[in-house]
Amino acid sequence: MINRIVVGAHYGLKDWIAQRATAVVMAVYSVLIAAVLLVVRPATFEAWQGVFANGVIKFLTFLFFVSLFYHAWIGVRDIWMDYVKPVGVRLTLHVLTICALVGYTAWAAAILWRL
């Protein structure tokens, strides 16, 4: 008889991959936006706003923020799991983290789509 223990099957892998995929998105965006700013060199408010008002930059910047918040969720969740043992406290921190990150997503969208 095979006695298998099936605890926590493969839910961790999805997050592990997501953390890395979002990291790559953010790394590429960081290099890209640095290059754009180096070329455009926005010195005034109008020029600075103009960079992010561009449709492609706006889309990529929002993609960066969404990647950042998903990435942060996995990383911060790992920190709570490592250091906070009481289940109730940990669950509360998880929920608060998600609430903050969902709010930040809306905030980032509001900043970008006002342009």
Partner: protein
Amino acid sequence: MAEMTIKKRPKNLDLTTIRLPLPGKVSILHRVSGAGLFLCLPVILWLFGASLGSPESFATFKSVAGMLPVKVILAGLLWAFVHHFCAGIRFLLLDIHVGIEKEAARQSAAVVFAVSIPLTLILWGVLL
């Protein structure tokens, strides 16, 4: 067999006596910088929003970003971002089994510091 696995092993969790090797320092600073960036997200988003909102809010952004305590926070965030970026690339390479030998891993950890610290100072000079 079961007895072997539950045999007591020596444990040292005293943070004052643990001496981390260089890759360990990269790792814990990756966590510390990530946590710091997460905690400062409201500050970052507020500054980003103010800089893009209107000429008035842009002026507010400039004066706030020019205050010394804010400058210190921004310098810390800049280091955190650069370290997290450099160490993150090292971890991605380790994930695809590049440089997983002990000596190579030590060297790449040294490279992370050798790149992240000067890069932080350069960006600080350019941006702040």
